[in-house]
Amino acid sequence: MGRKVLILTEVKDGKLRQVSLEALSVAQQIADGEEIIAALFGDDSTEILSEISLYGAHKLYTSTEASLSVYTTDAYTQALVQLIQEVGAEVVLMGHTGVGKDLAPRASARLGAGLVTDCTGVESVDGNVIFTRPIYAGKAFQKKSFKKGILFATLRANNFAVKESPVRTEIVSFQPTIKDLRTIVKEVVRKAVGGVDLSEAKVVVSGGRGVKGAEGFQTLQALADVLGGAVGASRGACDAEYCDYSMQIGQTGKVVTPDLYIACGISGAIQHVAGMSNSKVIVAINKDPEAPIFQLADYGIVGDLFEVVPLLTEECKKVLSEAAVSS
């Protein structure tokens, strides 16, 4: 049994977010032949519109209403709720992003609907849609289904395959009525470094107390840059003020599931492990051969990260340039 699915897609730095493509692919599975409707608020660049049509959206509602150019809860909630009602969506998907985390609970509450956040898996069983999500920051998992109402879900980046399915997408200009905005965004300060978002990064190079200081993180950044990844940290490194809390990975902090996680000078406390143990491949670099992180690592090097990481950066450069030549 198919369901009409609405996906709120997001653009970041002029590009459609990877997790939005993943959400479109999940929509193909859930819709099962029913209509797939994408929404894009505050942007209508032709490039983005044509990209969305590659991933199975039958209709794309765009709105360049001025109050949607910067995300605010009130404006986006009003627009999304009006759109859901207008198209009669039965399932609403978005990324578990800054926007998704803020908007999905508000919009679902307004519609009296349930919401399953931070999903890493989806399946259809006897006409029910069941979402899988980590609990206790990945120390366990749960499967959740819906009893009634519209199905809202936010999807964690990097956990769903992107499936191309080019269709003719009908573009609809959407004009929501937006009023009574209660919050005003005064300014947005870009602090996130390196340009690769930690929660969506395919490679995460992470440092703990062993990094010894803010400068030590530059060593890790160099490796992350070569691999197109982002830099993360353990709570120990954040508490020691070597880096910003926004980089913290763990039970309090971000939970990441990259393809490759390189833990540098991280001992492997249970709280940190909870935030990264579901990474596909884990590499540990630590001076202490007894460090618990080695129990979890696919590959380990016992050594000083200040020696190992620069060598690894050079070696990865070589491997990548050889690969570029041979392809």
Partner: protein, 255 residues
């Protein structure tokens, strides 16, 4: 100023998780205030210390969660309310309905909550409460400055910083970096032990069963597959690094 704080008692983050009969086992587990809620309580107490007023902490949970409320009282909260959820299954939708119903008849200017609970990781309840009460919310805040009836708020958005202005009443959720929660003082702990707690049953809230019936349900809970211990590379360091880069390229295929 009337300040409310939404809290939850969660597993200590050092606890291992085990499952018995499809449920998370609580046997022998150490419980704490959800770490993000500690920031919320601390901020509430600071706002009170600066502006005067009263801090009330609320939780939905079994009687064991009164320990978390006592800790909040010892940190400087004035009143504590526990909503007894009973035995049936419930979700974020239900909890938000209950909290909102318990709040509706109280005066409030500011509501604080944690960014998410470290057990469910859901991050929904506080925002849903704001919607139920028809007030604005700002999630994931790292700074809060109140001037008259306005709040200047900084929020963390994927590592970037957003500066927001909003009028009271407002609900905000606390992110790391907001403050450094204080340890309860010994006199505070002694005093908190004797303070009365208000206990509310779902029936007291005057909602129909239909109004707070959960929208979602858990169909299964399980532990992740245990990873096999991997390979510690051997030999000269240069050789190890060379081998690692090759393995990541050819065996793991992640570079």
């Amino acid at each position: 100023m009337n300040i409310l704080v939404l809290t939850k008692q969660t597993f200590d983050t050092e606890e291992k998780v085990s499952i018995q009969n499809g449920r998370i086992s609580e046997e022998g587990v150490e419980f704490v205030i959800n770490p993000y809620d500690e920031y919320a309580i601390e901020e509430a107490v600071r706002v009170k210390e600066k502006n005067g007023g009263e801090v009330t902490v609320l939780t939905v949970g079994p009687s064991r969660s009164e320990n978390a409320l006592r800790t909040a009282l010892a940190m400087g909260a004035d009143k504590a309310v526990r909503i007894e959820p009973g035995v049936g299954e419930y979700d974020e939708f239900s909890v938000a309905k209950w909290l909102a119903a318990a709040i509706r008849n109280r005066p409030f200017d500011l509501i604080l909550g944690g960014n998410m609970a470290v057990d469910s990781g859901s991050g929904q309840v506080a925002v849903r409460v704001a919607e139920e009460l028809d007030i604005a919310h700002v999630t994931s805040i790292t700074k809060l400055v109140l001037v008259d009836r306005k709040a200047a708020v900084e929020r963390d958005v994927e590592g970037d910083l957003e500066m927001i202005e909003v009028s009271l009443p407002v609900l905000v959720t606390a992110q790391q970096g907001l403050n450094e929660p204080r340890y309860p003082s010994l006199p505070g702990i002694m005093k908190a032990k004797k303070m009365p707690l208000e206990i509310i049953s779902i029936a007291d809230l005057g909602l129909s069963e239909e109004e707070s019936q959960s929208r979602t349900m858990v169909v299964d809970q399980y532990l992740p597959v245990k990873k096999q211990a991997g390979r510690i590379l051997q030999g000269d360091l240069n050789q190890q690094v060379y081998e690692l880069a090759q393995l990541l390229r050819t065996e793991a295929k992640v570079v």
